[in-house]
């Protein structure tokens, strides 16, 4: 760990802190339908959209209609994406003449982008046409994010309103979210990214002549090296490099701002065309955290209790810092097996037997004390280094983003466990745009309930009594989540159709599967990327897991919102547990951690924890 690394980490949090209040207050105005400075431009567009889509903007919905509208919209737009993938070979903007996408993969991808997951079982540059990326995948980045924002706003209204049955209009919330919040930030942000080198074009891939052509074994049709007439492996000379292009910046910006995470290229934000400089890296991280962080202020503002918003923010920041500290420590410390191999080359086996591994690591580390700190650089870019890679890995899984700037699969066991745990805490540490807010509010309700049990009073939350129905629905959210993850992981590791996709042996292979289903159900989309998920089993089971993870969370959550909206306001009394101070923050953190730990600790001990112990003992697979 270096001082500069920590400076960059703390600077990011400072910038996020500074934008939380202005952006959160602006969002509160937008969703309370108050005037904003964007109205002269956006109001006419908004009215036009409602006219074209037969929306009555003054109509208020009860929670079942709100949920139905979301589900219908998701179903229709998911179907359109599926069809678009299947027929892309006949549609324009396909300069590489890419074929239609196979049915199972097209289903998985359609489910993935509709649910804001952006899990990718495919290599984008060899699978998806420019049109599919723009009008199919990036399009869903917009609307799935806007839907998440709408749902969080509906939940906040449920808390704020008194003795009303309605919680807003889904169409209006979604349209206002895209026009007032996403569109202006994306337009400016996309151009800033282009100025730094993120590509934005519609041309065919470029082919360049390599400065230094190289020899590589010739591969046959089966992907294996072929032998020449002399019986030695035949070699071929590679003289050219094909460089994938495309409309990247316009997708990159909404991918981060909408916490979607689906890369335009396979390497995602590790790719120099998606994330060319440390500045783009910093701005993309700010975009990932901006709206989820601002939502805490919107919550405080719309419910008339700003200090409650900040108490929730504080809980999120504490959990974020705990994650990034652990991951930074583990990755900066590096992989002792690689360190020994680096110092001893192929003679390291003898040193392993003598048990001098750790001594060697120390010697190696001190010999580098003056230079760039060593640490685990496998799967990481030089321009980002260890600090920016672990920071990105932490926030992309704290939120539901899932974009990556380093390969999580090659992190050390404990470094890789941090993103995994973040997913398992169901992404409430800032969380997805909107999704993180309503996810955290479920934990807030649980915390208030537990506090109520401790003092033996009916729990209250911001003037609303929390009763059996609300707690049952909250528990439903909390139980469905691990149930889907653990059951599907268990099935996958029992049968060959699951284990044959693992890229690494030993406990790491188990970690790959566990991470995949955690990522799917949490609607994150990042991966331990070695796993080959483009198989019928993973495409279909994960597609279903993503849909369950999205909609089976939303329904109970909206039911709570609808129920809360109808309740009377109860004035705070001496017996009310305050939800504004450090005591509440600590309780909230504890509840999040205890629920997560109790549920997933056994699975984690079979994966990353076991692998860490074996790595320390010098074991490889």
């Amino acid at each position: 760990m270096t001082a500069n690394g920590w400076l960059q980490i703390l600077l990011l949090l400072l910038v996020v802190l500074l934008i939380t209040k202005p952006l959160g207050a602006f969002m509160a105005r937008v969703f309370s339908r108050e005037r904003t400075w964007l109205d002269p431009v956006m109001r006419p567009v908004e009215r036009l959209i409602y006219r074209l889509t037969a929306v009555d903007e003054d109509h208020e919905m009860e929670w079942p209609e709100y949920a139905l509208s979301l589900i219908l919209f998701s179903a229709v737009s998911m179907l359109v994406l599926y069809v678009m993938e299947r027929v892309q070979q006949w549609l324009p903007w396909n300069p590489q003449k890419l074929a239609g996408v196979a049915p199972a993969l097209a289903f998985n991808t359609a489910a993935s982008f509709t649910t804001n997951t952006n899990w990718q079982s495919y290599v984008p540059e060899t699978t998806m046409s420019y049109l599919t990326q723009m009008a199919g995948l990036a399009y869903h980045n917009w609307v799935s994010a806007a839907a998440g924002i709408a749902l969080a706003v509906a939940f906040i209204r449920g808390i704020a309103r008194r003795e009303q049955k309605t919680i807003g209009n889904f169409w209006v919330d979604m349209v206002r979210g895209t026009l007032w919040i996403l569109a202006p930030l994306c337009l400016v942000g996309a151009l800033v990214l282009v100025s730094q080198g993120v590509v934005q074009n519609l041309k065919a891939y470029d082919t360049v002549q390599l400065v230094d052509p190289y020899q590589t074994p010739q591969l046959g049709a089966d992907g294996k090296p072929v032998n020449g007439v002399d019986g030695k492996p035949a070699m071929q000379t590679v003289t050219q490099q094909m460089i994938a292009q495309g409309p990247t910046a316009s997708q990159e910006i909404i991918k981060e701002l909408g916490t979607n995470g689906g890369g335009f290229f396979n390497a995602n934000s590790a790719h120099p065309f998606e994330n060319p400089t440390p500045l783009t890296n910093f701005l993309e991280m700010v975009c990932i955290l901006a709206i989820p962080s601002a939502f805490t202020y919107t919550l405080g503002k719309m419910t008339g209790s700003p200090r409650h918003g900040w108490a929730v923010w504080a809980a999120m920041v504490v959990l974020l810092l705990a994650g990034v500290t652990t991951a930074y420590w583990a990755e900066a410390r590096g992989n002792p097996l690689v360190t020994a191999a680096a110092q001893h080359g192929s003679q390291q086996n003898s040193s392993l037997q003598q048990g001098s591994l750790q001594l060697d690591s120390l010697k190696y580390a001190s010999s580098h004390a003056a230079g760039q700190s060593i640490g685990n650089l496998e799967g990481k870019e030089v321009r980002f280094g260890v600090a920016n890679s672990v920071l990105w890995a932490t926030i992309t899984t704290d939120t539901s983003c899932g974009a990556i700037n380093a390969q999580h699969d090659s992190f050390t066991p404990l470094g890789g466990m941090v993103p995994m745990i973040n997913l398992m805490l169901s992404e409430v540490i800032f969380g997805g745009v909107g999704a993180g807010m309503y996810g955290m509010l479920v934990f807030v309700i649980l915390s208030v309930f537990i506090a109520g049990l401790m003092v033996g009073r009916t729990p209250e939350y911001l003037g609303k009594k929390i009763e059996a129905y609300d707690v049952k629905m909250a528990m439903l959210v909390i139980l469905i989540f691990p149930l889907v993850i653990l059951v599907l992981t268990a099935i996958s590791v029992l049968f060959n159709f699951g284990t044959s996709s693992m890229a690494n042996a030993g406990p790491h292979g188990f970690s790959e599967v566990l991470y995949a289903f955690s990522s799917a159900v949490a609607n994150n989309g990042s991966a331990f990327g070695g796993i080959n998920a483009n198989t019928p089993w993973y495409n279909i089971s994960m597609g279903i897991a993503m849909l369950l993870g999205r909609f089976m969370m939303i329904l109970p959550m909206l039911a709570i919102a609808g129920n809360l909206a109808g309740k009377k306001h109860v004035p705070a009394s001496l017996g009310t547990f305050p939800v504004t101070g450090p005591l509440f923050t600590v309780l909230l953190i504890s509840v999040v951690l205890i629920v997560g730990a109790l549920t997933f600790f056994p699975a984690l001990s079979l994966g990353p924890i076991l692998e860490h112990l074996l790595m320390q003992a010098g074991k490889t697979f």
Partner: protein, 191 residues
């Protein structure tokens, strides 16, 4: 139900036109006018033909060139198929690869410990950079191959060393392709 279904269909059409087509096409138009070089991948030309992108790494194996990091993209630096090795920390293939590379590099320059970025693949497989330490590690070889003094080579490396952006963002780094192109200009003696 029926009313909301109709709205769902219409809303999908209207928002696809707005955010799926109008937005990316507008950004493309603006980008091509305001930042044409960046929007097209910062391609470099030599003798009239494209020889690479400033942002995308290339494999270098001749001893007269500074070498890039190992790459897991395709057969190496395949910019049509980006990605990392995804080898886990206890994977035998990872350890064997590092051992093999370490043997080779240590034989080339026994005096210095090997910079870790030369032993590890990047996340993209297209990393255009190496650390300043990794460039320094290769200076003796380049000086010998190109018939330059080590200090002259160090001078060229220094010119291509980028410090942290604004002094604090990211890590110091050297763009390998640009460094090698410059080397060809200054000392065109090919090995």
């Amino acid at each position: 139900m029926k009313k909301n279904l109709i709205t769902s269909v219409l809303m999908t059409v209207v928002t696809t036109l707005l955010f799926g087509l109008l937005f990316p096409l507008a950004v493309t138009g603006l980008a091509q006018v305001l930042f044409p070089k960046q929007a097209n991948g910062e391609l470099l030309t030599r003798n009239g033909s494209f020889i690479g992108s400033q942002l995308i790494g290339q494999p270098f194996s001749s001893s007269g060139y500074f070498h890039s990091r190992p790459s897991a993209a395709g057969t190496g630096y395949d910019a049509g198929n980006s990605g990392g090795s995804n080898l886990g920390p206890t994977n035998q293939s990872l350890i064997a690869r590092v051992q093999g590379d370490a043997d080779r590099l240590q034989a080339e320059n026994p005096k210095f410990p090997i910079p870790p970025d030369l032993l590890t693949t990047s996340g993209s497989g297209l990393d255009p950079h190496i650390s300043p330490e990794a460039a320094e590690f290769q200076v003796p070889r380049i000086a010998k191959e190109r018939g330059l003094s080590e200090d002259r080579v160090r001078e060229i490396v220094r010119q291509h060393t980028e410090s942290r952006q604004f002094g604090f963002l990211g890590e110091p780094r050297v763009n390998v392709l640009q460094l090698n192109l410059d080397l060809d200009q200054i000392a065109p003696k090919r090995p």
